[in-house]
Amino acid sequence: MTGSGSARKATHPGTGSADDAVYSGTSAFRGIVPAENLPSLPDPQAIQFWMGADAHLLHYAIGPGGEAVNFFAVVATPPIWLDEGSVAAVQEEVPPASFRGWHPAVTEMIKAAASPIRWGLFTVRPLLRWYRGLVVILGDAAHGMLPHHGQGANTTIEDAFALAVLLAEAKPDGLEPAFARFQQMRRARTRKIQRSSSVTSSLLHLPDGPAVRARDEKVTRVAEDFAWIHEYDVQQALRAAGAAPAGNAAQA
């Protein structure tokens, strides 16, 4: 049995609950807006971050010709998440006050696709073990992370690929050693990304000051600084761990 799921609904062997999901103090609004409705947006085709005190907004083009803009706006509210689930109806003013006075491109975007709901952003507390008996967890259940590196789904796919290869090599009575190898191979990498996503969340919401200048200088090196995330090859990692993805898997 494998367990995955969202950070808020994480399945953990031995607990089976979401007690390990931790609210980050930030929540998100999403929307899709036709590019033609965003006259102030300098480049609708760009992948762009807008950063400010206690809020940021990411947008990128979607659709066959990039004719729509998908945005993800994050605010440092509410301080406490009271809802049972990870999505809550928005009672307060939309757009959030957090973006008042921002560039017109940002306010146009949010006003054009005022979302009636907000998503709470959660992480999962690190776990020492990802398996017990015949149960193993992966993805958000094991390492639910903030979305700021865009790695929640990617790390889950890496997990699934690695686990599939290791299980294919395991003997019928050797599942637990395979789970142990899986955890050994994946825990440090996902922990690093999980931590880096949380650090990035703070960097994206800095108030004006010296720290912003240091952050902005760091932004110019994003490709180099985060190559360890984006250039990772799970097949290479498997080979380094002594496992051998073969057949169709090697083509994945």
Binding site: R125, P126, L127, L128, R132, A188, R191
Partner: protein, 94 residues
């Protein structure tokens, strides 16, 4: 667990994960300046130390580690309670 035992275990972890010379590992050794360990490598050290000592070190805690002695003190405070299953990070907080 005595400090010298924790130090010995941490020295092994640092050697395995980061290739640190055992002679360089003292409680006063700073991860960045003395041992050449950046924050990403420190995360790997932390995970390996967790496996070695059977505890979870909360992210907010290990991000404040400066010296090997900080890790040793943390592990000593947490005690040596080997987990039977998943352990929450806050289980080791004071």
């Amino acid at each position: 667990m005595p400090q010298d035992t924790v130090l010995a275990g941490l020295t092994e972890v640092l050697g395995d994960v980061a290739g640190v010379d055992p002679a360089d590992v003292t409680p006063e050794a700073r991860f960045g300046d003395d041992l050449g360990i950046d924050s990403l490598t420190l995360a790997e050290v932390v995970v390996a130390a967790e496996d070695r000592f059977g505890l979870v070190i909360a992210d907010d805690d290990w991000s404040r580690f400066v010296t090997a002695g900080d890790v040793i003190a943390y592990i000593e405070r947490a005690g040596m309670i080997a987990p039977a299953g998943p352990v929450r990070a806050d289980a080791t907080k004071n």
